[in-house]
Symmetry: C2
Subunit: 205 residues, 2 copies
């Protein structure tokens, strides 16, 4: 690995993604949750992470809480800033998968083109789009963060679903009807996808 003489060009060792996946004993992937505010993306992502973690998998959830005030703290909510926000999240998720981590992203990500860009950025099969489908009426009724109320009052001009469109995925890898399924059932659907794609192994028993 090393050269003993000084002033020589040191050998450049490189641990690959495959090495890291082997260490973690599972493949890495991006689980890209998309859907309206209140559709259950973040809750589902964290519940999936909890299950994956407890069964020994390396995981991380990227969401508004850990990205908006950090990596993307310089960005606002203009069209171009929203595009750049999703671009950076895509790049971040890509690096996380290269680190051998199952990376779950939970952002509204309302525009098809942004999601397609994120998909194209990684090798085929690395980007699994999970559409959290829920009628806006239900999301608005939940209104956990009080955002719909503010949007209706005109306080959030380009709120997705009200002042700005949500473009549903044409061919997501998975659709979860979060208003019809329990959280357990929803988690299981995601786990089944991961097993089917060979990312994690099915547990015996």
């Amino acid at each position: 690995m090393t050269k003993k003489s000084t002033n020589t060009v040191w050998h450049h060792a490189t641990i690959t993604r495959a090495d890291r996946e082997a260490l973690h004993k599972h493949k890495s992937v991006i689980l890209w949750f998309t859907g309206l505010s209140g559709s259950g993306k973040s809750t589902l992502a964290h519940a999936v992470e909890e299950h994956l973690h407890k069964t020994g998998n390396s995981t991380f959830v990227l969401d508004g809480d850990n990205v908006r005030h950090g990596l993307c703290s310089d960005l606002g909510f203009s069209d171009s800033d929203r595009v750049e926000n999703i671009r950076r999240i895509g790049e971040l998720a890509k690096l996380m998968t290269e680190a051998g981590v199952i990376t779950l992203t939970a952002f509204i990500s309302p525009f098809k083109s942004d999601r397609e860009d994120a998909r194209k950025r990684v090798p085929h099969g690395d980007f699994l789009e999970i559409y959290c489908q829920c009628p806006i009426e239900t999301c608005e009724k939940r209104d956990v963060k009080g955002l719909y109320k503010k949007a209706r009052a005109g306080e959030i001009p380009f709120f997705t679903g009200i002042g700005s469109p949500y473009e549903a995925p044409d061919r997501p890898e998975l659709v979860i009807n979060t208003h019809e399924l329990t959280l357990d059932e929803s988690v299981q659907k995601v786990l089944n996808l991961l097993i089917q794609r060979g990312i994690i192994k099915a547990k015996a028993g």
Copy 2:
């Protein structure tokens, strides 16, 4: 974990950094390598990663190869872009450590203030600054990428050490004289620091 009735607010499960560190069986940390172009930062970071990986630790190296063309592809080399570049790398490294990964960054990062900002962004003890010290004459003699030659020819106006200053750290956690030590010796110094700080365990025998 879940509620069985629909239309209720789902419970928000959260796996913490400590949980991920426990799974990986080591602590996470940022190893921030800084020094002139050609001082051996990237080579040392990759060699340290190789050793850590082979002894079962989760690792990732951030360097120009995987950041400049991705997350920071919109940035050039103006003063403000260079500041923003290092800011994003700091945020990225922070998220990686939250994912339980020992994160090694290998960038010239010539300005004290940028490195101090990255240090302040994370809890005390999470940022270990490793100064790859090497006389510029030696770096220039190596000139692996031919950059010094170009800089001397005026083709790279703000090249660190020639057209732009390198501000050496005042109190780095570690100084490695890369022109005096072998790569093995340098790697060992970094590993000793990690053991001393309780990030990884010393191997018996």
